[in-house]
Amino acid sequence: MNNDYSLMKGNEAIAEGALRAGCRFYAGYPITPQSEILEYMSTHMEERGGVFIQGESEIASMSMIWGAAACGERVMSSSSGPGYDLKQEGISYLASYNLPAVLADVMRYGLGDGEITEGQDSYWEATKGGGHGDSRQIVLTPSSVQECADLTYLAFELADKYNTVAIILSDGAISQMIEKCYLPDAIEHDKDKYDWAITGYKEKDATKVKVTNMDRTIGHEAWNELMRNKFKTIYDNEQRWEEFMVEDAELVLVAYGISARVCKSAVRSARAQGVKLGLIRPITVWPYPDQAFQNMPESVKALVTVEMSISSQMAPDIQMASKFSKPLYGYLSTLYVPKTEELVAYCKSVLAGNENALEVY
């Protein structure tokens, strides 16, 4: 860990975090509000000895990182909204070859063609998407510029550890803001360390090295088992979250990304006003931090999901995690960053019994 901070945008922290994690291949296509990731890579990748390609589309970019990942390189792409949709097929392919890769999805406001305002529109797509098939991806949600760097760095480690795709699910607000960031130390990745990677040279031994659809290589039964074990291991070991003043809370807010930042302010403000709020901030949203909801204090009367979305996309996960043990309310602010005091007022209203619980479907 570096002792010197940098002032940078969330997007830049993602890019620099990736470079320091040894990422040496990036391909992507511009789209707001993630273009700074691409631009940063275009400016700095070469000086680190890596390859930058501005692809002709999101699909081409995904295919390029697929080829590069198959060669054992640490690879990354990034996109947002409609561009992220187009990466779904590629995610499935990466999953079906058990290849590590990191993607950043910088969310915007939902339903729209050219909407580029802040928002958290793609929770479902990131956590339940990943294209066709049963693929699952680790999804990390930074809520500060520092975390943009740290979680990206972590994403490469996890992708490598589990041979999986790891997604940085950021949002327009977090990715466009500037904060202090202590950058992690740079490491070099050895692309020749794998026995499965494509090399195109055979000095090591005469056997054929071949990356192909795993179910063809090891058979369907083994493949299904491998997948199930992988998902379960990740679920058991990689849940991450932050708790803030939950111990004695009457109402617990649940939020990630930019919304969680507002929630922290709301908790502090409400407590100053004598209202005991708490916050559970999922850092991984897959695996969802079910453990955080296991032993909720008696004091907690209800949960409130705070999201910048039209439908509450996180609500089903909260209900699964909490097993309906507490009523769930929703503060859904769509394209507006939630207002701290409005949120506090809403929470008071919930506690006063003046709000309807969320309908989840």
């Binding site: 040496r24 291949f25 391909a27 390859v51 390609i53 692809g55 002709e56 589309s57 699909i59 081409a60 970019s61 995904m62 295919s63 390029m64 990182i65 697929w66 080829g67 590069a68 990942a69 198959a70 060669c71 054992g72 390189e73 690879v75 097929e89 590629g90 392919y93 070859y97 692309k191 494509i198 090399t199 195109g200 040279y201 055979k202 054929k208 090295v209 071949k210 990356v211 192909t212 659809n213 063809r216």
Partner: protein, 246 residues
């Protein structure tokens, strides 16, 4: 007479239909790699289409590209492993239809790979639908049962004419309908691999090839159709040979 024998690089029976040209293409590729001493460095990128079977039969590193994106996958590989001999073996649906942009942009970047496109005038693997790039007018397919009609479905176009507008190393079309053309095609392929070996730019070789199964013709008749009909629209020739000068 030199001994002619299945290349060692091919390690089992091919999975294609009887009379399919993909098997000949695979053999020509293997021969070129062996003759140029490139076997150990070779990486194949096959399409999710009939070319896919080559992943099972060819003894070299390999990966299947998402349908249509082989050229982009190969780009990723060549950039990370520049020493490798990276080639694409894909269909005309993959390379010219859904993957038209990927093929063109690989040419635009002049990526030094060898791209081999099997022009069989149809979507072979999915059961023989019309290929909007290569199915001839009037040809009957399961998605043009009365024959391809220009008004509704446009007409086939020569992708090599498009690719020659780019500053690439080599573009040529071969055919498989007789041994003379097979031998000529092999020369084109060899050129494509040599170009890559010599650090020249993007080479593409398209090969007119039969799909007797979906054409619903005997293999012998398929070859006749290739020569008498398809070659009229898709002439066999070298379209571009930059000769390494740029």
């Amino acid at each position: 007479m030199a001994i002619r024998k299945k290349p060692e690089m091919i390690n089992q029976q091919v999975g294609w239909c009887g009379g399919c040209g993909h098997g000949i293409v695979q053999r020509l590729i293997a021969e070129c790699c062996e003759e140029l001493g490139l076997v150990e460095k070779t990486v194949q990128v096959v399409d999710i289409a009939c070319a896919y079977w080559s992943i099972d039969t060819l003894n070299c590193d390999g990966i299947a590209g998402p349908h249509g994106r082989c050229a982009a996958v190969a780009t990723g590989i060549k950039k990370v492993r520049p020493e490798a001999n990276v080639y694409v073996h894909a269909g005309d649906g993959c390379s010219y239809v859904i993957g038209l942009a990927e093929t063109c942009y690989t040419a635009m970047r002049d990526i030094p790979i060898t791209m081999i496109v099997v022009n069989n005038g149809t979507f072979g693997m999915t059961g023989g639908q019309m290929n909007p790039a290569t199915t001839l007018l009037g040809d009957k397919t399961v998605s043009s049962v009365k024959g391809r009609d220009e008004k509704a479905a446009g007409k086939p176009f020569d992708m090599l004419k498009i690719l020659e507008t780019f500053d690439i190393e080599y573009a040529a079309r071969g055919a498989l309908y007789d041994t003379k053309h097979i031998n000529q095609t092999k020369k084109m392929l060899k050129k494509g691999f040599e170009n890559q070996r010599d650090g020249k730019g993007f080479s593409i070789i398209e090969i007119l090839s039969p799909c007797p199964t979906n054409w619903k013709m005997s293999p012998v008749d398929s070859m006749i159709k290739l020569e008498k009909e398809n070659e009229l629209i898709f002439p066999v020739r070298v379209y571009k040979d930059r000769g390494g000068e740029k």
